[in-house]
């Protein structure tokens, strides 16, 4: 099963159960409260997911490590390499 198919199956399952509850498709005669809660669910879920995404990406960008040490180390190694090669006669 590809990821696409997994998603389609999942989304279909959610939508079908939502439709059944909200529009009383199977004549289940559920209490009114269930219908009221279920009706705006897809929109709520989308908005929640949007907020979660923004919060997660924002947090991760804020905590993205900056490695000063690695950069210094690299500069040092470049210098050493240049010196070494210069000694061996290579011209830059």
């Amino acid at each position: 099963m590809t990821k696409l198919v997994e998603w389609l199956v999942g989304v279909t399952a959610v939508l079908v159960s939502w439709a059944v509850v909200s529009f009383d498709l199977l004549d289940l005669s559920l209490p009114e409260a269930y219908r009221e809660v279920a009706l705006p669910m897809p929109l709520y879920l989308l908005v929640s997911f949007g907020c979660y995404s923004l919060a997660t990406v924002g947090y991760r960008v804020a905590t993205f490590n900056d490695c000063e040490d690695a950069a210094k180390e690299l500069q040092g190694q470049i210098k050493e390499a240049k010196e070494d090669l210069r000694k061996k006669g290579l011209k830059f």
Binding site: T2, K3, L4, S53, T56, V57, R60, V61, F64, N65, D66, C67, E68, D69, A70, A71, E73, L74, Q75, Q77, I78, E80, A81, D84, L85, F92
Partner: protein, 190 residues
Amino acid sequence: AGNELYAAHVSSCLCFERISLIFLQRLVLKQFSLFCNYCENNCVSVFSPSSSQSLSSESWFLWKQSEGDFDLVSGTRYKGDGGVYGWDLRRKLISRGANFLTQVLLRPGASDLTGSFRLYKRPVLETLVSRCVSKGYVFQMEMIVRARQLSYSVGEVPISFVDRVYGESKLGGNEIVSFVKGLITLFATT
């Protein structure tokens, strides 16, 4: 000149019988020889030459591999004390955003798919390369996704990614478009 001169790179080539590196720095060589024996020449490291990484960190990859007998060890910029240097906010945002999208859509079991430092067991590398169909750096993503598909074990090592000192780093509109295309292809086919 610059990074390509001094740093040890193994460009993604299958034909290496063992980890072979071009050494130009004696001090790096000393650290590495300790681990060569340990690994028994059964692993191949794949380093993309677009980034610079001190050779000493390769020893971390080997150590990690032996620690859990992983089929694949991947360098990650996003976990542990991995990180970047010299990235502005825009670049960090794009990187994290793209990675988040990838995680949601592909659930790959690894935190960094576009990082360029990996260590593979030789037979694993051969199998994966024979199955991959994409080109460019989407190929890197596909390797890990296929590895997950084939139930290979993946270990992770934090890496520090320092921008290249000479030359231009590429992150233009084209790159983003090809990334999205690659992502959708992987989403639909794996």
